[in-house]
């Protein structure tokens, strides 16, 4: 199953790293779309369907938590799985995100970690790397 992903991070380098790591993990990626903040991401989500949103928390214009809150309020978007990748990994922050249905991994992350997390989130069949 090819996964259509929206990667949301204000750093273009980090977006590239996330996509590179997902490719290295052996996950089969379909269309990969990028946004620089939550507002841009919400606009893109209105135009195209994705299987997964991978998002940072600390971003200008609209941060990741606000974006998740808006997605939860939108019947068209609330079922889309969200994986938060952030440098800030306090237990309280992780619990707050998990209560909203999101999953969390800390930057930097290995291909194995992102693969295992996404496989569990999307309940896709894991045939192993590559």
């Amino acid at each position: 199953m090819a996964i259509n992903v929206l990667v949301v991070d204000d750093s273009s380098v980090m977006r590239s790293m996330i996509i590179k790591t997902m490719n290295m993990s052996g996950l089969e990626l379909g269309e990969v779309t990028q946004a620089a903040n939550g507002m841009e991401a919400l606009g893109l989500l209105k135009e195209k369907w994705v299987d997964l949103v991978v998002a940072d928390i600390n971003m200008p214009v609209m941060n990741g938590e606000e974006m998740i809150n808006r997605m939860m309020e939108d019947p068209d978007l609330k079922t889309i799985p969200i994986l938060v990748v952030s440098t800030e990994a306090s237990q309280a922050r992780i619990e707050s995100l998990m209560n909203k249905g999101a999953r969390f991994i800390k930057k930097p992350f290995s291909p194995e970690l992102i693969r295992n997390t996404i496989v569990k989130m999307l309940r896709i069949e894991d045939h192993g790397e590559g």
């Binding site: 204000d10 750093s11 273009s12 380098v13 980090m14 590239s16 790293m17 590179k20 600390n58 200008p60 952030s86 440098t87 800030e88 990994a89 306090s90 237990q91 309280a92 922050r93 800390k106 930057k107 930097p108």
Partner: protein, 155 residues
Amino acid sequence: MEKDEIKGKLIEGAVSSLERLAFIFSYPVEVPEREGMDDSVRAVVSFTGRLRGSLSIELPASALTELAGNMLGLDGETPSIEQQYDALGETANVICGSVLPSLAEESAIFDIGAPEITPIARGSFEMPDGKFEVRGYLELDQGSCTVKLRLDEEL
């Protein structure tokens, strides 16, 4: 928490972040061999929450090509200046996210701001501004790296 313990956590966070993000290997030193001898670039991230302050990393300008190139997985291509600065800012962010949780209780939440990037001409030295500050020095192949943690209040 003692200043030496904080310095240890700062250095550990910087060494492991550079290695894990960009495959850049460094080792800590007490006195930097080439501080101020190269043009360099500084990234500063401010944070609020359980602790308030800022964290900065200063790398020789010549190290930024490798930092950004490795993070992006570029093979032979030279990353743009924007990509180099972006990579340094993300590195500061990751070090900050690695160090702060080790300085506060598990339930503490922090908000880490957007990185500010400043080129520094060789020969420039920054004086401490009176806040509680810890500095660590690392040596890389390309020169000396300085990491600083400033807190509004002593721990």
